[in-house]
Symmetry: D2
Subunit: 447 residues, 4 copies
Amino acid sequence: MNVGMLGELFATISERGRRLIERRTELGSGPRRASAVIELAEDLLSHRGEASGVARASEILEAYVRFSPDERAIFFDALAGRFGVDPANVAAAVEAYRASPSEEAAQRLHLAAEPRRQELFRRLNLAPGGTQSLVDMRTHLIAMLKSNPRWEVVDRDLVHLFSSWFNRGFLVVKRIDWTTPAHILEKIIAYEAVHEIRDWNDLRRRLQPSDRRCFGFFHPALVDEPLIFVEVALTIDLPAAIGPLLAAERPPLAARDARTAVFYSISNCQTGLKGISFGHFLIKQVAEELKKELPELETFVTLSPVPLFATWLDAERKAEGNAALPETDRKTLELLDEPGAFENDLAKKALAPALTRAAARYFLAARNAEGKLIDPVARFHLGNGARLERLNPFGDLSPKGLKQSHGMMVNYLYDLERIEKNHEAFADAGTVVAAPVVKRALAKRAD
Amino acid sequence: MNVGMLGELFATISERGRRLIERRTELGSGPRRASAVIELAEDLLSHRGEASGVARASEILEAYVRFSPDERAIFFDALAGRFGVDPANVAAAVEAYRASPSEEAAQRLHLAAEPRRQELFRRLNLAPGGTQSLVDMRTHLIAMLKSNPRWEVVDRDLVHLFSSWFNRGFLVVKRIDWTTPAHILEKIIAYEAVHEIRDWNDLRRRLQPSDRRCFGFFHPALVDEPLIFVEVALTIDLPAAIGPLLAAERPPLAARDARTAVFYSISNCQTGLKGISFGHFLIKQVAEELKKELPELETFVTLSPVPLFATWLDAERKAEGNAALPETDRKTLELLDEPGAFENDLAKKALAPALTRAAARYFLAARNAEGKLIDPVARFHLGNGARLERLNPFGDLSPKGLKQSHGMMVNYLYDLERIEKNHEAFADAGTVVAAPVVKRALAKRAD
Amino acid sequence: MNVGMLGELFATISERGRRLIERRTELGSGPRRASAVIELAEDLLSHRGEASGVARASEILEAYVRFSPDERAIFFDALAGRFGVDPANVAAAVEAYRASPSEEAAQRLHLAAEPRRQELFRRLNLAPGGTQSLVDMRTHLIAMLKSNPRWEVVDRDLVHLFSSWFNRGFLVVKRIDWTTPAHILEKIIAYEAVHEIRDWNDLRRRLQPSDRRCFGFFHPALVDEPLIFVEVALTIDLPAAIGPLLAAERPPLAARDARTAVFYSISNCQTGLKGISFGHFLIKQVAEELKKELPELETFVTLSPVPLFATWLDAERKAEGNAALPETDRKTLELLDEPGAFENDLAKKALAPALTRAAARYFLAARNAEGKLIDPVARFHLGNGARLERLNPFGDLSPKGLKQSHGMMVNYLYDLERIEKNHEAFADAGTVVAAPVVKRALAKRAD
Amino acid sequence: MNVGMLGELFATISERGRRLIERRTELGSGPRRASAVIELAEDLLSHRGEASGVARASEILEAYVRFSPDERAIFFDALAGRFGVDPANVAAAVEAYRASPSEEAAQRLHLAAEPRRQELFRRLNLAPGGTQSLVDMRTHLIAMLKSNPRWEVVDRDLVHLFSSWFNRGFLVVKRIDWTTPAHILEKIIAYEAVHEIRDWNDLRRRLQPSDRRCFGFFHPALVDEPLIFVEVALTIDLPAAIGPLLAAERPPLAARDARTAVFYSISNCQTGLKGISFGHFLIKQVAEELKKELPELETFVTLSPVPLFATWLDAERKAEGNAALPETDRKTLELLDEPGAFENDLAKKALAPALTRAAARYFLAARNAEGKLIDPVARFHLGNGARLERLNPFGDLSPKGLKQSHGMMVNYLYDLERIEKNHEAFADAGTVVAAPVVKRALAKRAD
């Protein structure tokens, strides 16, 4: 008997509960259906019976899954409005608190100011597959949030609940390899977000060789669904480019000969869990786990894309009188506009220092409108306490790599002894901890 | 790699984090230690680093575990006071809401009115074994709550968090039998709360025979710790007494010959989870599970104690001019004062109808000061939608049984088709759904 | 700790043992290597030390794996000759038995007449992966047996040992589905022998839909290697053709609606286990298992190829004055020589009864030179106690199906109540138990 | 689906098979029943149907289990006689071989000289639980073998089959600890043969502390039944006595602080597998396994009883003019006859060197009538390649220890680098490899 069976039992109970309600309503479709579902949700909130509660929750989620975008919008509006707080309740609690402020009064205020949708979500979560349904619901919400900022209160409530439900203490880390069940592996193929996995043979090359590892976080309520996974290559030295690392004909290294573990791809799987961060935790756990398996490993490092580098650099190149870009470099970088530059050794020789200098500036000096580091991947790793270790021009010469970063890739180093200090330096003062070689690249003149 | 390993990894990370903090403080003992821990808690709340956060949380919980009751009291006082809301924050949010009430303003109010201890508990929960430590902490709190009602706000916050973390969607039901690992079985022996399990041989008699079943709920963060378990006997007919059901020499029934499943013992295992109810859910799931394994089962019923019957009856017998107790019955019940009455067939013959009538009154008519059903076990099962099926005088002639209920036991029937209706009747109108035979016992005159 | 770990431990022990032997011999290659390995085998037989024995066995098998066909031939010659019986021993035991025949003397004779290679194989089997190596060795042997009949004594000894080691009591049946580890699934793709599985998507269609099942036999010494597996389709009625059964767009049937289980593909995986029959056992076990999961199933049936039908029929058509083939049918069957006949409804209408009559004769009347049923698939299923249930012209219109049987497929029925009687009738008297409709097809005149 | 399910399926098939046979014979009891079973066995041998074969085999084994010793004797007589070889067959094969000796003729001779009971056992093995039944049958046979030497041929055949079925390649080593299922743990209590386990609390002390380990061998056909297990204590130094090692209040050592693994108890579980040796293999595997878990371990050693020492010493003491026992020692050893000598420090001081010298002689010089080492435990460990490391007078002061060896225990050292050489020295020349300190004890004069 396991989580799967549990789900099955829930399903049975809910089935029976549904008969008890004897709700034979045809929910219809369109706005009528959305209204019917909203009524069901009111019903769910106002009753306390377990069995009928599970049945109602299932009914709501089953109807929801068939919603058109318009119906979703009606439903989200209800969540943001009708299922918000009861203003009378809040007002009463506010007055009571003002009359006599106390810890108890604050608690009542806290409860009164909790929107009703939070309890609604908690009850929906009891339906079989409820957690997954709510995660999916947030995926839909996020997609429409920009044009419907009034739903942000709903999003914040979901984030609050998910943070609690997906508490890292409840996550399970599992190694994923070629002995992993196929129905999980097919999700790895589907969710890989950094370096596409083309088919099962490609997948096997990521998992089976002696110098490959893969780990993911799983949650008991989302059986068989990874939340996030990281792919690792074992190497001798710091890798400078993704191509050779993933080459199909590459002779695999014996694991015991490896000295470096390269985290070359980290993929979040559930859009609906955006903002509930597991990545930094997974990296550190996997580093510890690898160290235990292979005590000879000395270096834990990423080989990471630089997603906004090309955008930034192209803007800089266009900016008039830009001190950020020395004139010689600006000149050299014109090579980027020439087709085939990256297949030309001479051009590459000229580009390498110019691109490296520009990248050093991009990471160490350039900031976005909010005064923050531009690169989201850098923000993630530096926020985790990693160090910007090396800049690799020509690290990714795939079309995607050329397009987003003119081929640049970087290594972030996870030195377990220093991540805490690095993290604090970055979090408190925005300091980008970087290896001397990176800092020197910034300082160096182009002449 | 599994939950256990996860814990191990957390431990490693925390170990390393601790070195990073380089907190060589000797925490001392007594009030000084309590203060130091409170400072650590402040520190934990004010930093965001993952590794050091886990280390700090571990340090707090490790110190907590060595606290004397006096130190606990200092710590609980801090939780109730210092780690409550920030009054200035609340006041500001209150004024903002009053100035311009909106869903967003309510959300800010909700957050401002959330006591700081909630976030503290969430962060403590990241330490290895954190969930168990917090559950244990509530066990301590409950023990001292009566004399320290100011801590009730703390208790309510823990209940709130536990309700979310122990969401039934995250529970796993597992069959417990003679092939279950010993370290779990020893907990069954320890936690059995209704009919004591004396030793491993006694345990085997509860688990191994063909007509015994046992199921428990488990949670991924409390590995190897059952939250609640239910023991089941398979029988042909409704059982009237616990003695024969548990008799050591009893010839076991073949499971396929059983028609009735008797839930004869339900034990909550974690005092710290008091009020987070799993019982009704477990019963229903187990009923479904048994039905699937043994489709011939027709009846799901308990054989339950009546814990407050003797107290109530003795008070009634003493009360002057009590219409609740017919004079003839009152007379007959004097036999209860005679030693050995329950070994005397004549006495038993006289007592049976009088006790039955009294019990019918106890359940169907008597109410406590708050107007509620007196019996807590009855409140649990009737609240679940069960029906009071039969009154069994002489159901438990053990010293404990005689003391608490003059030997009375009752059966509650779980009719899966009716539990919802029964539940609503009880929840909405306090109606005790009872079998005709029970109702007739109330109506019947004693003469 | 599991079988895998066991293998690892064996490997370690063997590693260490190898160092002990301090055999630094470069085994070379070609005949010199074959001789060296034969000496090692002598050595293995003459020593009793466990650790060095495992090391020697490993060394032999590791060298064997690199053998060229010529070296194998040298080695097999040694097995058949040098590692046969010791003639002096046999002669002595023979004389002793003749002098005084007794059960003890017979036992000594039995032992003396056991070829030394049997003990050699038993000791080789102690090496890590030894069982798989010996199974592979027999694969090589079988391939060369026809031109080297003197090796048949070796083959018989391997069969004898494998029969004992692969005793059905030691086999484990496992369901194979889309949650099965990928490294096992890839073997299903590789070993499928009847209806090719093209890729992982094709595999998924065989495993994942609600109306598909697959089961295999596994042995603890051949971890992760299926010995045989059977693919099952759940249907309502007896299927007449393989095409619709495997169609990619087929809407899947809900399992509970199925009344018929169709064994449409049975594949042996290990050539080296040829003659060690598991198939009949697997079919019966799977039938029982399916019946337990889906009590509504009424019929267990195959949809089987008729591999030698076309060969037989073509010969019959050529034979002069062949009474087996009525003249009208012979005439009609000339349509088979016309391209596109199977796409022409009129041609098919004419062909159907003629092919059916011919197939009835092929199964019920025709016999090969040894007086046996011609069709190997029929011998397998009828030998298992199945009944020839229906002849399906146009059952397999794939190129392969047309080539081997002019499209004919048949159903064999497994009626669990009758398989024993059917089996005995077939085994004792060669009676082909067939459904009336099949028998009538034989009787019917073509006119 | 697992081995357990397999058994269940076999059971179902057999059930159905039994109905097919429609053997309604009441087998009766006594000689009549034995005869009926013998007829069934003939029947089983002469038919080839799978389903009815399994049914017949089950019927035989189910009747066998109810046999009285007299019926068993009748059955064993039949096995030794009627189910022996067919003399006519043997004679024919003998003559054929003499006429034309060849590998093929030898093979036919081998088959003809195979007693029919071997095939009978193989077919009985197909019944559900057949392997266990046959192991139990041999247990009965061994018990009656001394007085029925004519059954030795039967015993040898069972040994031959079991050696093949319990091939070490098919064994699985599993760690046994406090998380092991209770139904396996209860067998550890039952089978412990060296230092009795009194109850579950005692068992827990052998399994749960950080410095305890236990491993067993399991076989897939004997699910949940250990074949042999070894208990290990982790210590810093070589232990000299069992008492402190097993003391209930002993503070446990952290595993990582241990340098020595002490195999203090090895128990064979299945009498019917006597002579099928697993022990030496288990010890070596467990040593490798522990080394992997705890690389700091340096020494693998036993703390072993000396079961025949007291018997030998008492005889030596009685022997007149025995040069083996120096006069001074003989004198000192008279203390052994005084009650309470082992509680008297002065007496112990005198006894220690005398007992040690005598033990050195017992191991290094004394031999039994067949010229072999007297001590069976020594023969086992030295045969495995261990070294006699130290003699520990007062190693076991329990009544059993005093009785069998006047308190003497010894350590055998497993030096994985030397076990092979030691083994060969012992096997080839009978050399007892012993530590210098043991050899010196033999040399030393008593004066």
